[in-house]
């Protein structure tokens, strides 16, 4: 019980800190970096809802991030749409294209699925890069507007944009949490654990994989749209495989399939990347071995590793207790106690 309270308090504390951050941090630069990190975190949460929950490793994720960004960019800059209308369109289009891609790609499995989706991601990159007349090609797309005001709320300042991103991240985490603890989430995990057994107990693996893929594309699109409106300039490099692998790295380091993993991994890695900037690209020499060690010793990342450690400790203390007590009774209704 103590532990549960601690986790809860930890969440509340984190939430308060993030709410107060613009007042604590005076540097605009730091706030900018944190906002970017939160945008990445939204994308990584989406990634986790596919890779972590259902277990199909898609490498097209960054492509859907780019689709979200470019949809918003093109509709606002070239078509002159209302910002929030374009924003909605970006989300819908990301999910819709995700659905179509998923329909085809889930005909493959395992490594082939990863390779197939990597090709899809690369095709998306090529379309953005080569379709000069529409996307602006390598020159990119400039002048994407800030989010339009909603009633009295305006989003012209960095602080207000930070809160906007924070709001969407909070929604994303809530969805991730609700999903994980639902019957649908259990179904996803069952498919992840064993496709064969899941099918034997009447679960359509294809349907569930497709659903989780569409959900993940939706959040990739959300992150992309936020990115476009925050940075206000987008180029084909936001669809690059390198960025895709970076998101995957955040996820693996934070903890694949865990609830806090995407946030922890993203914040930590963005912070590390910033602090090691003087090393430039050779910081990968450092990240590489760390990643390998982590995958070997903590396959579930930092968050997974810590949870396992706690669980073991709790079990040990449980054992000590039970030596003096009778075996504990099985509680009859624990749905709520389990969350």
């Amino acid at each position: 019980m103590d532990k549960v309270m601690n986790i809860r308090n930890g969440v509340i504390l984190t939430f308060i800190i993030t709410l107060l951050l613009p007042f604590i941090v005076q540097s605009q630069y730091v706030l900018h970096v944190v906002t970017m990190a939160l945008i990445w975190a939204i994308s990584v949460y989406g990634y986790n809802m596919n890779v972590g929950y259902v277990g199909s490793l898609s490498l097209a994720h960054v492509g859907f991030f780019a689709i979200g960004a470019y949809t918003l960019g093109l509709l606002t800059v070239k078509a002159g749409w209302n910002f929030w209308l374009a924003f909605m369109a970006a989300l819908v289009l990301s999910a819709a294209i995700g659905f179509l891609v998923g329909l085809v790609s889930f005909r493959t499995k395992g490594h082939f699925f990863a390779i197939y989706t990597m090709c899809v991601g690369f095709i998306i990159y090529l379309i953005i890069d080569k379709w000069d007349s529409l996307t602006g090609g390598v020159r990119g797309l400039i002048g994407i507007p800030h989010p339009a005001p909603i009633g009295p709320l305006t989003f012209d300042t960095l602080t207000s944009q930070y809160y906007l991103v924070l709001f969407f991240l909070a929604v994303t985490i809530l969805v991730a949490k609700r999903l994980l603890h639902s019957l649908l989430g259990r179904t996803f995990l069952a498919v992840n654990n064993s496709e064969e057994l899941a099918r034997a107990i009447g679960i359509s693996t294809r349907k569930n994989q497709l659903l989780s893929f569409v959900i993940s594309c939706f959040f990739a699109g959300l992150a992309g749209a936020l990115y476009a409106s925050f940075v206000r300039f987008i180029g084909p490099d936001i669809a690059s495989i390198v960025l895709g692998f970076e998101m995957l790295m955040y996820l693996i380091i934070g903890g694949i399939g865990t609830l806090a993993g995407p946030l922890v991994g993203t914040l930590l890695m963005v912070w590390l990347t910033q602090s090691l900037q003087f090393l430039q690209d050779s910081r990968m020499v450092l990240f590489g071995p760390v990643l390998v060690l982590l995958v070997i010793f903590y396959p579930q990342g930092i968050v997974g590793g810590i949870t396992n450690h706690w669980r073991k400790r709790r079990k040990r203390s449980d054992l000590k207790h039970s030596e003096s007590k009778l075996p504990k009774q099985v509680p009859s209704h624990r749905v709520n106690a389990r969350r």
């Binding site: 969805v175 609700r178 999903l179 639902s182 019957l183 649908l184 989430g185 259990r186 179904t187 995990l189 069952a190 654990n193 064993s194 064969e196 057994l197 899941a198 099918r199 034997a200 107990i201 009447g202 679960i203 359509s204 693996t205 659903l211 959900i215 075996p327 099985v330 009859s332 209704h333 624990r334 749905v335």
Partner: protein, 261 residues
């Protein structure tokens, strides 16, 4: 007829794993399928449960043709199965394993999950209650919180039964339910299988432990090299010359009483 299989054939390239096999299972019976290794028993189960499409032939369950349906649809219609190598969701606890078994009887989808609707909460509770009920049935309610990695082989077999039962099946296909457990535990599992039929279930099982089969089964089908060579009551099978030949390569009738394989 409850389950009726007609002229079922499965070819893998040049290898015929099942050749024109017929099977009739009566409601409430325990029907055993035996045969030497490689006789095509597991393939036969895979065909019935939809894991592999048959090359030809039909499978009829309660009057509906289920040939070629995907496994999840077949499970929905009331056929559950267990696997030869005990197959469970290894990373989860016993309770979580069994709870998911009820999934095909629930409706809650994405929006129910996000808004935690009344339906979601109700179905969650139902799944939990049913999980406890089937765990009680197989005699493991005290292990609900154990991870699968922490329980014995025999307990895993029981959890696999519980998981199958949680799908509310009418027919249960058990692939070697007593493989890898000792004789005392085998008796316990046999008693559990008997208990299932008392609850109105029909059981079809593959097994190598002859003593168990002979005392448990109402009818036995014998496969050898993909073909049905005999079918009948345990007594008929014990004295069937073709069976004796398949198992012992042509022996004396009395040797059939020995524990083989």
């Amino acid at each position: 007829m409850f389950l009726k299989v007609e002229q079922l054939t499965k070819r893998f390239g040049g290898l015929t794993a099942n050749h024109n096999n017929d099977l009739e299972v009566h409601k409430g019976h325990i029907h055993a399928i035996i045969g030497p290794n490689g006789a095509g028993k597991t393939t036969f189960f895979n065909l019935i449960s939809g894991f592999q499409p048959p090359t030809s032939g039909t499978i009829t369950f309660k009057g509906t043709d289920i040939t070629g349906m995907p496994p999840n649809k077949i499970a929905e219609r009331g056929i559950a199965r267990t696997f030869q190598t005990t197959h469970l969701f290894e990373k989860a606890t016993v309770l979580d394993n069994v709870m998911i078994g009820n999934r095909l009887r629930t409706q809650s989808g994405f929006w129910d999950a996000i808004f935690r609707t009344r339906r979601e909460r109700r179905e969650e509770k139902e799944s939990l209650n049913k999980a406890y009920k089937v765990l009680e049935f197989v005699g493991l309610p005290h292990l609900a919180d154990e991870p699968i990695a922490g329980i014995t082989q025999e307990q895993k077999k029981r959890v696999a039964f519980a998981l199958a039962l949680a799908t509310e099946p009418e027919l249960v296909l058990l692939d070697e339910p007593a493989a890898g457990v000792n004789s005392g535990e085998t008796d316990g599992l046999a008693a559990l299988i008997k208990k299932m039929t008392k609850r109105g279930l029909t059981v079809c099982l593959i097994e190598h432990k002859m003593a168990m089969i002979m005392s448990l089964a109402d009818r036995i089908t014998v496969l050898n090299q993909g073909e049905r060579i005999a079918e009948g009551t345990p007594k008929e099978i014990q004295n069937h010359p073709a069976v004796i030949e398949a198992y012992l390569g042509g022996g004396q009738p009395e040797s059939s009483r020995t524990e083989t394989v």
